[in-house]
Amino acid sequence: MISEILQGLFKHIDSFLMSCLLFTMLVGLFVLYSASGQSFDRISSQLVNIAVALVVMWLAANIPPQHLERIAVPIYVFGVILLIGVALFGEVSHGARRWLSLGFTKIQPSEIMRIAVPLMLAWFFSKRERSHRIIDFAIAALLLLIPVALIVKQPDLGTALLISASGFFVLFLAGLSWKFLIGGMVAISASMPLFWSMLHDYQRKRIEILIDPTQDPLGAGYHTIQATIALGSGGLTGKGWLNGTQAQLDFLPERTTDFIFAVFGEEFGMIGNLLLLTLFSLIIIRGIVIASQAKSTFTRLLAGSITLTFFTYAFVNVGMVSGVLPVVGVPLPLISYGGTSMVTLLLGFGILMSIQTHKKLVASG
């Protein structure tokens, strides 16, 4: 009886993916405990974030992909309207207009677009299953560029980057022609100077300082310098949990959020880093398997995009902390403190699980 209920409850949960996620989040809690200066408050509040995110994931896993297909367009349109609302009436904080006040609460519409954009594009291509015309890709690109442009303007480079990536993955998996792809890459390289001129000063500075962090060791370069010192001084085996001097003595900025990987790398060393990459790889591999087994174009493209967006998260964050990518505000997935990113991520994994566990039903139905 009880086992039946449990079986019913976990019917749509992918056990392998779930185990990897739970284990990674558990590691994350340990790192957060150390990074927060052994704060139980932080841990319990992160546990609440995880609990909420797991509920969202469970709900998403239990919604059949067909339903998602149906709500793709409304969510997208709703999201874009909110983004326009932000551009017009948004609240400014720290020089960026990202939040929209609804009176009782504040929301960040760009977060909605993280899932709405891949949904929308996957839906779009599923409706044009048999055509590979350039015009389709042009429309898809436009659908992607509208929210991205609005988000870049806020400005929120990190989110814009991740949404662009998620959209790009859909386009690529939908069969974007190789010629066009290569041509696009060339075009992007050629348009770099223009892109450079459009960037905000602080964004340019971040890139400049990435190239040479010593330019501004106490200002913008401080983050990168202290993070590489933390990682480098961790060595092969690390300084041990709670023993990272860079982390424990406040040298690392934003160490519970964007720079939490520096804490991890300092305390657990290269071995720890490789284990974390392995965990991420297992999640990515499972996502790719789900995508390759998916039955419809919509689910295929959605699963592929969600998986590779997760990869982009991880790569961009680790890359920026270890000093090979510019500092853009991207948290380390499943590890960094914060509710929004946790919910968005697990919502994505819930959709993956739904795609995996509903395909038999689709086939039989």
């Binding site: 060595g235 092969l236 406040d250 290269m270 880093n273 390759s292 000093g323 090979v324």
Partner: protein
């Protein structure tokens, strides 16, 4: 047809999708491989580099200042010590509005314009994150007032700092010296001497006297604490610490009671006194009058006090024993006499009949004796006793300037005594070579003549004169003069006695020494120039008086001490040793503008010798409002008089 086409299409699409998925999978592998290479570079290859950086980040070396050693007199009386005082200190980088904070603080504790000036000066000289004193010497009430209001003043701290204090104030200030804040010149000197690291955390350094010359002993070794700090520079915990080693205590050979008696004896007179134990070279008293309060200098002297000290005609800041130069006058005569005797000249029973003047052969110029009409028949012993100028004019001429100066140089004239504090100047013992070098003029015979009575170019410091008489008292054995007799290691308690060192043994004939000594004993006997000094002494005193002219007198012009300005009067000189048979103390006294040596300088010497030899205290003659323990505290200032251009070259 359509369905198979559709299926084919579907399969093709499936295939293409998987290919593209594989491409992205490869991208993931490449990306993670790139990260792995980066980890290898940071965490393995450059591990040592980043490890060092992390250590430097977290570890700060905090110096622990050692306690400065004490200075005591030979009997253990403390002359310089340290005590804790409350200071109110501000770290500018931690204060948002400095002016407002200071204004608010001024409502709680008094902040004078001097405090503000000093604060601003120190602020300019130091880093913003250093703690700078605003007020020092807060009393208990002020400290408590601030402590209650502490929370209102972030970045302001009540600290307890070790301060140097000279409990006897003005007494012996020139010899003890003082410490002051380390300035740029000190830093340069320390860098050259490679002692800079030992002064991390020290604010003060010896600036003069014993404090300066024995800085190495007194300062001690700075301890260090390795502290783990956070990114704000706040200490989190101590990793290791090396305790500081307190500075050594310096024991002076000076008897501070003797010093007090000497200083009191000077009264309002300016001048100097140096007393030496002849057989060891130990300095027993080292007086420079007027003196000053060294406590004023410890934390930076304020402008008013500085101007008062620096602009005073009395020049209280000059270390007279070491840097005051005076013509030796007649105190030079015993040495000239000995030079003659050692050269085989004027040996008894040789005598002259003094007409009251001396003339060089083939010249009509008369060199007058101080006594008009002369002293009659005078042998060498009596020439010393009555200070017969005519006798020494002739002797000097006969010896010649070279023989004369070469002999007296052994007694320290014209060279530094080598006393163990800095700042000594060598005085001047003129030679024909020196005159040619200095004035491009040949040496005249007449200059040799007046050198014989201590006039002319010859200049001595009180220290030199004391050293000369000490050498004479010690029968030609020149001991190195020393203010410090021992150094106590504060850690082990071990005392290292500084052994007397012989500078030189001048080979002298005992008989000649005896003749000079007898002549000098007679000085303090009835008929001598300082008969009153020797009266009822109870011990025998060998002495010589001297008078040094301040302004040039026209030939034949009569000197009337009472008729001229006090500052134009002659300097009074007096040298002595006692007891004459077995000398225990030798001293030189100079009273500026004191007039005659026997009457102005002699009584001071007598009081010093009485106390040292007999333990006899001088009769109390100070007015009741003066504190006898602080003899110069209430000395009223003499009326200002225009300083004369001292013309000591007759």
């Amino acid at each position: 047809m359509r369905s198979s086409n559709e299926l084919k299409n579907y399969q093709h699409e499936q295939h293409d999708f998987k290919l593209r998925l594989a491409v992205l999978g490869l991208l993931v592998i490449l990306a993670f491989a790139a990260l792995t290479i980066r980890f290898y570079f940071l965490q393995i290859k450059r591990y040592d580099y980043y490890q060092t950086l992390a250590e430097n980040n977290r570890i700060s070396i905090v110096p622990i200042t050692p306690n400065r050693g004490l200075i005591t007199d030979r009997n253990g009386v403390v002359l310089a010590h340290n005590f804790f005082v409350y200071t109110l200190e501000i770290t500018p980088s931690k204060v948002e509005d400095l002016d407002k904070t200071i204004a608010e603080l001024a409502k709680l504790v008094e902040v004078s314009s001097f405090d503000l000036k000093r604060f601003n000066k120190l602020k300019e000289q130091s880093h913003n994150f250093e703690s700078i004193p605003l007020r020092t010497h807060l009393n208990e009430i002020e400290a408590a007032k601030f402590a209650v209001n502490r929370f209102r003043f972030p970045g302001v701290e009540l600290k307890s700092r070790l301060f140097r204090h000279y409990p006897l104030g003005k007494m012996g200030a020139h010899m003890i010296g003082y410490i002051g804040r380390i300035n740029d010149k000190d830093l340069t000197d320390m860098e050259a001497a490679d002692t800079l690291s030992n002064y991390k955390g020290s604010d003060h350094i010896g600036k003069s006297g014993i404090e300066q010359s024995y800085e190495t002993e007194l300062h001690g070794t700075t301890g260090f604490q390795q502290v783990e700090i956070d990114a704000d520079g706040q200490a989190v915990r101590t990793l290791s610490s090396t305790a500081p080693i307190s500075g050594n205590n310096v024991v002076l050979s000076v008897d501070i009671k003797l010093q007090e008696i000497a200083e009191t004896a000077f009264g309002e007179h300016r001048g100097a006194l140096v007393a030496i134990k002849p057989d060891t070279g130990e300095v027993l008293a080292f007086v420079s009058m007027p003196t000053f309060d060294p406590n004023l200098f410890v934390d930076g002297i304020d402008v008013d006090n500085w101007n008062q000290l620096n602009n005073s005609l009395d020049k209280p800041l000059i270390n007279r024993p070491l840097r005051g130069i005076y013509p030796p006058g007649s105190t030079f005569k015993p040495f000239v006499a000995l030079a003659g005797l050692e050269a085989g000249k004027r040996l008894p029973p040789f005598s002259i009949n003094d007409p009251g003047y001396f003339t060089l052969p083939n010249s009509v110029h008369q060199y007058h004796d101080w006594k008009p009409g002369g002293h009659g028949v005078v042998d060498i012993r009596r020439a010393i006793t009555v200070s017969c100028d005519t006798f020494f004019y002739g002797l000097a001429m006969e010896l010649g300037i070279d023989k004369l100066t070469n002999f007296v140089r052994h007694f320290g004239f014209g060279i530094k005594s080598g006393i163990d504090i800095n700042g000594e100047i060598p005085g001047l013992l003129p030679t024909p070579e020196w005159k040619m070098r200095r004035y491009k003029q040949p040496w005249y015979m007449g200059e040799t003549v007046i050198t014989g009575i201590g006039q002319g170019y010859t200049l001595v410091t009180p220290m030199q004169l004391a050293q000369a008489i000490a050498i004479l008292a010690n029968k030609g054995v020149a001991m190195r003069p020393r203010l410090v007799s021992g150094i106590t290691n504060t850690k082990t308690g071990a005392v290292s006695i500084i052994k007397p060192t012989v500078n030189e043994k001048i080979p002298l004939n005992e008989g000649n020494l005896e003749i000079v000594k007898l002549g000098m004993i007679d000085v303090t006997m009835p008929g001598g120039t300082a008969a009153s000094v020797g009266a009822n002494a109870g011990y025998s005193i060998a002495a010589k008086t001297g008078t040094a002219q301040v302004i040039g007198m026209k030939k034949n012009e009569k000197y009337n001490a009472n008729a001229i300005d006090e500052r134009h009067r002659d300097h009074a000189l007096f040298i002595a040793y006692a007891p004459a048979e077995v000398p225990k103390i030798a001293l030189a006294v100079i009273v500026e503008n004191g007039g005659h040596g026997g009457s102005a300088a002699g009584p001071i010497a007598r009081k010093v010798m009485d106390y040292y030899l007999l333990g006899k205290l001088p009769p109390v003659e100070v007015p009741p409002e003066m504190n006898p323990k602080n003899p110069s505290a209430a000395a009223p200032k003499p009326p200002p008089i225009d300083a004369p251009e001292e013309d000591i070259h007759d």
